[in-house]
């Protein structure tokens, strides 16, 4: 079955390396996908108000476009897209009245019937491709690379949309092990990165980043991976602020989990490391991976 690939805003700009590495890896692993035509913004954050159908229209419009184009499954890379689309989908599936209202809002689109499943890339890798298959296809094992996986919030919470345990997840660790790397467990792996507070409270976000990254470093990690462009930005770019706040702080490279996947699968030229604030190339070179 072919996935409708929903990129979302940042995958085409700041997180280009995330998209390129993910797409190249999926092709190599034989997962079929096509980018959804005419996709729009997912809304970024899921509206938590009980009376606000308007704020679910964006997500349902995306879902109905996928449905009417004949897709049954939608693939997301960004945690926030995953969360908003999945929650909106669950809401309208369980609340026909809400769905009807939203369908009325969307004059220009066919009514959504609720037949699309929203999946995150990690779920697809785990459940469809399987890590065993990935292990067998690794051409350049990430031997000796000590990596802390950072999940953030929206892949794990609320529990209804979680792709793994919402307190102690291990899907990324399992993936990293299959790539030959050494996962480092950190108690801060499911802690919030501060999200959109990065706009008006970068001091707070830097505080979160410091706690998350120093906990990983203390446990011996050389690298932190994530699968969300906003987490990435907050952990990577805000290290500038962290360094300002803590003088002895030593920056640590942040990668998208798919960049490591692509590396291990021997794919070239999809990394866009120039978009990273903390340059990972010297670390990767020292491990013989570049």
């Amino acid at each position: 079955m072919v996935y409708a690939y929903y990129p979302g805003c940042t995958l085409k700009t700041h997180a280009k390396g995330f998209e390129l590495s993910a797409m190249a890896s999926l092709e190599k692993l034989g997962v079929k996908y096509r980018e959804l035509e005419k996709w729009t913004c997912c809304g970024t954050v899921y509206s938590l108000a009980s009376d606000d159908a308007m704020r679910q229209v964006a997500q349902v419009r995306i879902l109905t476009r996928a449905e009417s184009a004949g897709y049954r499954r939608m693939l997301t890379l960004c945690s926030m897209c995953y969360n908003t689309l999945k929650r909106a989908n669950m809401l309208v599936r369980s609340d026909p009245e809400r769905l009807e209202t939203i369908n009325m809002f969307m004059d220009d689109e066919p009514d959504y019937k609720g037949s699309v499943e929203v999946k995150h890339l990690l779920e697809v890798l785990r459940d469809e491709v399987t890590f065993d298959k990935i292990r067998s296809m690794v051409s350049k094992p990430l031997r000796g690379l000590r990596i802390s996986a950072y999940y953030g919030c929206l892949l794990l919470r609320p529990k209804t949309v979680s792709i793994d345990s919402s307190i102690n997840p291990h899907v990324m660790e399992d993936l990293l092990s299959s790539l030959g790397a050494e996962p480092i467990d950190s108690p801060e792996k499911a802690k919030c990165c501060g999200a959109y507070l990065t706009v008006n409270r970068k001091d707070l976000v830097a505080g979160f980043a410091y706690e998350i990254l120093s906990a990983a470093r203390r446990r011996g990690a050389e690298l932190v991976v994530t699968s969300c462009p906003l987490c990435f930005f907050n952990l990577d770019r805000r290290q500038e602020e962290v360094s300002r706040m803590y003088e002895d702080y030593k920056p640590i490279p942040i990668l998208y989990v798919t960049q490591l996947l692509a590396l291990a699968l021997g794919i070239r030229d999809v990394y866009m490391f120039n978009l990273h604030y903390v340059d990972p190339t010297s670390l990767l070179k020292s491990k013989g991976l570049l």
Binding site: S165, I167, N168, P187
Partner: protein, 648 residues
Amino acid sequence: MGYGVFICHCGQNIAGTIDIEKLVRKVSGIRGVTHVEDYIFMCSDPGQERIKKAIKEKNLEGIVVAACSPSLHEETFRKAAESVGLNPYLVEIANIREWSAWPHQAEPEEATMKAFKIIESTVEKLNGDKPLEPLRLEVVRRVMVIGGGIAGIQAALDVAEAGIEVILVERSPSIGGRMAQLSETFPTLDCPQCILTPKMTSVAHHPLVKLLAYSEVEEVSGSAGNFKVKVRRKPTYVDWNKCVGCGLCMEACPVELPSEFEMGLAHRKAIYIQFPQAVPNKAVIDSENCIRMKYGRGCGLCAQKCPANAITFEDNGKAEEYDVGAIIVATGLEVMDKANFAEYGAGELKDVLTGLEFERMLAPSGPTGGKVVRPSDGRVPKEVVFIQCVGSRDPENWNPYCSKICCMYTAKQALLYKHAVPGGQAYIFYIDIRADGKGYEEFIHRAMAEEGVIYLRGRVGRVYQEGDKLRVEGVDTISGLKIVIDADMVVLATAAVPSSGVEELAKKLRIQLGEGGWLKEAHLKLRPLETLTSGVFIAGAAQYPKDITDTVSQASGAAAKAVAFLSKGYVVREPLIAVVNEDICSGCGNCEEACSYQAIKVVDGKANVDESLCEGCGSCTAACPSGAVQLKNYDKRQIIKMVESIVG
């Protein structure tokens, strides 16, 4: 002639909402009703006298008492009627209190109408009622007690002391149960070994008690007074007639496994005696892990060492059948595994213990000889955090109920820790302190005020390893502060849950489980020791978490219930059971499939009801496509008439 209706005011319970005068007037108009009377308390002696008098004087053919739920006073009114010669099954209760007066306090007029409808429909039912005679069955004067913890031991002793034979069944190699695992008991700080061991010995040696250790109930048939129980004696691979419990075999055995009794904090061998004071003090071989048993050859070191030549390696166990009149279920509780709690390390953090594990550590006979040390590095912990309500009072994730015993045992453990480590600091995170027993509040006071345990009101969100410390992130909701403690050890008061396997046992016994899997009592207030299956009683924590005091009291209560049940020599059973109209029955067997009590069987193409087994539940009547099976005095026709009178 005709029917009488007796309307109870129940003080203000009914009369406060329902217009009695109007109700009496309306009820007088029901066809067939020749006598209506109201009174403030029908269940009182003068109330009953009124009923008796009316039955005699008016020569009533049947009566309806409009009062509270039949589970409370149906029996009372039946007896009153019987004493003046009216068949007790021509007494019907119209429940106008729970069904109308209480739920409709805000709408008295409608409540009065509803009460009338209830009475009217009950009169309709009475119309179809037939006089019945109760069934009488002889009983077997023998009791089976399932579970050999303190509850089972106490119940067995009490029954035996009353001169009735007891079969005590315990699934592990020794009796003693959870109490045998404890360090000291609150609030008196008695050593459980000192008070439990004598009871274990006396139950094992009582002439009227037959102890079946390492055995499980496999099948139960029959009914109250006449149960047949098949017990499987599990294979021990050791001849217990020869075994003297010297323990040389254990020394010889090369296989080490985590000990269940020590909660995994110490090892046992593949051949083992459960614990030093075990009763019976006999060894068993864990056949799954014994080298000789696994490969069929080799090793055999234990057999070489055994001075009594008791080790056989061959034993298929056996099934034995016992006839018993009553059964007492005393299967006790377990605590939840810490691996369930991801926020507290999911069992990966070595220095996070459950209460029961810590209990073993505190026990003088335990794996550390009563020393408190960290399992990770053997150091004495200076800062210990106790967390209560782990998995309890948590309807969203685990159990909605309060485990009841944790407040007290946590206080005790904190206190014992302070005794073991004088310079140490204990912290207890709690939501509420429930100290509702004799001397309990004083005990908490002692922990707080005299022994310096710090109580923090709130829960802990997370525990994780930070260096060689456990970082505890909690909250104190009284000060409104987030609390961080770098602890050396964390003890979780994990929720009490019913013993594993109780679900299957309940199915075999045909008793119900309630919320959380605890055994369901017949009535929470008035029949807490009985189950809805007559002849089966409950003792101890199988019903709900209990401390030792409550467990022992309840065990004695259950024993008294069982003794009283058997001492009459016969059981009387309600005749309200299924009956088959053979002219209509086509023998399809739907009823047989529907019956949970194996009480109805198709014999020669006709359904046939075993009166001693039928509980009168009505499943068969619902399953019968043609209506050939009916309940006595609950005939479909009566029910349709009742419905008619309500909707009409």
